[in-house]
Structures are given as C-alpha cells and as structure tokens.
Symmetry: C2
C-alpha cells in the first residue's frame, strides 16, 4: 500500500479512514488531527498555560510532544505512584523526555505526600489499587493546575480509552457519569481546572505509531495492577467489533458527543460544594481524596498502637 | 452442583444468579420468570387474545409452550419466508408443534403474497435479505394481529437478543430507536397491536435449556442469510463480557429500562401518520412495507418487458 499523500511506501494503515501514510506524512496527519481537535472542540489557545499529565506511557508523551511541536505553552506533571519497578521506570522515561526537550516537569511523589503510594494505600484501606489511584491522581492533577496558575489540564486519553470508558458507563447506564463524560470539561468553579483530551479522536494504534516513529522512549509495560481491569475487557470487545466494522469506536464516541450526551445532561444536574477539609470542589461535604487520606491516617494510627 | 430448590443433581447452571436447578425445578423457574415478567411489566392478562409469532426456533416455541401452560388464550403466526430448505424445515417444526398441542396456527406464505419470498425480494430489489425480512415480518405480524382481533402480539426475543440490539443502537446512538426499544410497546394507534417480549429477562442459554428439557422439537440451524449478521458479533462481544462479569447483559438491558430509555424518550418524539397505500400506521407517507412491495412490482414489470 502507498501513502495517500505522497505515494511513497506506507508504514501506517488506518482502516477506519481507508487510508495509509508513510512515516513523515503520518506524523503530519497525527499532528494536524490534534491541532484540529483542539481548535474544533475549543480546548485551548496559544494564550493558555497547559499542564500535561504525563505517566511515561506512549499516549501522554505523544501528546506532550505534539503540543510542544505546535508551540503551546506547556509544563508536564508526573505523579510517582510508588508502584515498585513500574513507577521507577515511568519516572525515568518521563524525566528523560523532559530533559531531552528542555521543558519543565513537576513531580509529585505520593510516598512523600503522607504515605499515599498506591500499594500502601491499597493495603491500609479497603480500596482496590485502581480506585485509590483514580481518586489520588484526579486530586493532584487539579490541585497542581489550579495552584500553579495553569488554565488547562490536558491528559493523553485516546479514542480506545474513551470508547472503553463509554462502553462501561453505558453497560451500567450510569447517567451521572454519562452526563459528565466529555473530551472537554469546562472549569465550572474557580478551583477547578478546565480538562481536555486532545487525543480522543486518535486510536491507541495511532498514538503508538506516532510515539514509535518520533523515536519517543516510553514505558511499554502496563501497570502491574491493571492486568485484569475490566477496562481491558471493554477494549478487547470493542477491538473485535472494530475489526468487523472499522469506524465502530469513532462513531460510538463521536455519536455520543452529538446525540447521546445531551440526553443525559438534560436529565442530570450536579450541585458543586466545597470540601470542608481541602477546599476543592466536590459533590459531598468532604471530597473523595480527603476521605481516602483520613482512612490512611486512621490505619496508620491503628498500626502504631 | 445441586439444585437450589430440591437439592437433586443440577442440570442447568445460571451464573448471573449464582444458582442451579434440576430439570423439573428449572422448568418451574423458567415458567415463573415468564409469568412474573408478564405481570410486572403489565404485558397482558388472561382476558387478552395473544398472537405468538413463531419461527420454529427454540425461543418462539418455548414462549408459546409456556403461554399454553400458563393458560393464556393464544394462536400462533408463522411466516413462511421461502428460504429454501431452512424455511421448509421451520414450517414443518412449527406445524408439528401446533398439531401436537392441538392449537391454532395461522400461516402466511410470502411467495404466495405477490412474490415476497425473501430470496426473490433481495434479488429483485437492492435490499439485503435481513433488512427486507425485518420490514415484511413486522408488517404481517401487526396486520394479522389487528385483522384477527388479537389484542397482543408476542415475540420470542430473549435477553441476548435485546442486549445485542441495544448494543447496536447504542454504538450508533440511534436516539429514535433507543426511545422505541422496549419489551412492551403499547398500541398507540387503533391499527397497531400492542407488542410484548415475555422472554426478555431470560438468556438464550436458558430458553435453549427449557426447549430441550421440555422435549420441544425446534429448528437448530440459523437462517442461512444471518451467518455474518452484525447482531451475531454484538452477541459474541457481550458473551465475552458476560463471561468476565456474569450479569452484564441483564444489568445492561434492565438498567436501560430504568435509566437509559427515559433520557431518549424525553428528547425524541414520533408523529404517527397512516400509510396512503395500506392504511397501517407509519412515520412517512407510504410505509416501508408498501415501498418494498412497489419496488418488487416494478422489478417484475421490468423483467416482463
């Protein structure tokens, strides 16, 4: 197959667009797609200060790379989760990327934040690793963005991530989650950063191809706690449907933005309060992060007795 | 494993309920489930005249069998689709069931209804077999029910059918279809029969087990035109998710009834007109069946020239 742009030998095939690209044209296509998504979905402009959440994996590093190439004002935020060799390697890949590009990287070490490393939290509370990790990451993403004066928090979620999350929300018909699932979440409170997902129209295969062709050194291993995560089963199911009908994931996610979401937004409303402990927005009296932190403190106090 | 009712040896295991039954207790459980569904979802009462659409497959014959055992006033309706040996065998299984029970069976032979047999329609129009079949069956189901004075049309759709259909509608976010997907569709027009699906809470495995244990002789083969139908891929994907998390299909379908459907019903409204050709309700000026019939007539007239 030949590149649809320059007729050179194609190295990346995109079945849902029935197209193929050589290495150079693919990188251009990928960059254009991200630029167009940011513009069409009114994510941010060159006047914004963008905090990019970077795990060290292909998606977040590809995102940061594209945003730097497009000339956006960015800094990276890496959360060191304390998950043994996996986190050490993730931290190393991320810092090496930042040093190589000469860009600013903010790091939060969860173990140093009052024993919030994921294995410790999971063993001292009754939470699963994935649930604790989600609560903690969301808290620091927002806190660092707000306190650092960033107007935007960008994450590397791709089309496969969004489709899998949507399938999970739909299989359980979680109206509140469905009303809130969007690649653009506006800052509806002064202490809430605007959150965007500029890669949500690009598949996992495309972000992997981009990272590979750009020579980005990313961590290939998945988190050791995620090996049986239900999310992976959703991805597998969607991959099979995509194989049979290319474009399934894209029309699922984009159709939801166009048709589905408004149905749930119309029937769901969320009242934001302020957490009595940390002062960040929440729907309850005490936010999920502070409740988790209290559980950890309690467990530690118990262990000292 | 032992039967949860009588502690005899179990022959049917239902993972999503974490239960198992011997043959006798399973038949009782299955019958009770159908009776409860009919009552809880206000499908019909013993005063209704119920027309049961029977293909000759396990689901529709199991449904008819249960309704007869529960003492409902029923007749069967079989549509002979003219699909070679498959239809001949389906017709034979259905008539034999009706004769064996001494119950009334109405048969429509599509080839005799102006060359509406499915292979002929597909070859003389540009329709796929499955799309033509759907339009034609829906028309006759409703017409025979209304003209025969039946107050209810019952079909054998099971949980797997409903979950697969829902997944297809959700993947494409077809709001109008989502608003209209329900195991109970009221008769919103004098020439529209009330349509119900009393097996929608029971899985394909359960209806197959019931038909087998009741000694019902049903056609095992699938329609030869359906071998690559997208519906089968949806079922496969859902089966894998069900295997990982028993109860997935049930919570998907029942959650939709509770949470999802109202969101779409609130944003979608359908205005019913009357078909200028046949007089049955439709959303356009001429109904889908009459348009299909016109295409077939046109093709035949063209062939005669």
């Amino acid at each position: 197959m030949k590149c649809v742009k320059c007729r050179d030998k194609a190295v990346v095939h995109i079945r849902r667009h029935n197209s193929a690209f050589c290495s150079v044209c693919f990188q251009q296509y990928f960059t254009n797609q991200v630029a167009r998504t940011i513009k069409e979905d009114r994510m941010f402009t060159h006047d914004d200060r963008v905090l990019v959440a970077v795990s060290g994996g292909k998606d977040s590093l590809a995102l940061w790379d594209v945003l730097l190439n497009l000339g956006y004002d960015t800094a990276g935020l890496h959360i060191h989760q304390g998950i043994f060799a996996y986190s050490a390697a993730s931290f190393e890949k991320t810092t090496r990327f930042a040093e190589g590009r000469g860009v600013k990287l903010i790091t939060i070490d969860l173990a140093a934040e009052g024993d919030l490393d994921i294995p410790g939290v999971a063993s001292s509370t009754r939470r699963t690793q994935c649930s604790a990790c989600g609560v903690i990451k969301r808290h620091y993403f927002n806190k660092v963005a707000v306190e650092g004066g960033f107007t935007i928090l960008a994450t590397g979620h791709n089309l496969d991530d969004e489709a899998a999350r949507l399938l999970g929300n739909v299989l359980r018909w979680q109206s509140a989650y469905l009303a809130a699932q969007s690649p653009v979440l506006e800052a509806t409170h002064p202490r809430l950063a605007k959150k965007v997902k500029p890669l949500y129209r690009l598949s996992e295969y495309e972000t992997a191809a981009y990272a590979f062709l750009r020579g980005i050194d990313y961590i290939v291993e998945e988190c050791p706690f995620s090996h049986d995560a239900i999310q992976l089963h959703y991805k597998e199911a969607l991959n099979q449907l995509e194989h049979r009908s290319p474009g399934t994931k894209q029309s699922f996610v984009q159709g939801f933005m166009r048709e589905g979401r408004k149905a749930f937004a119309a029937t769901t409303s969320v009242q934001l309060k302020v957490c009595s402990s940390c002062g960040y927005p929440t729907t309850g009296d005490v936010c999920g992060f502070c409740r988790l932190q209290q559980e950890v403190h309690k467990a530690k106090a118990g262990a000292r007795k």
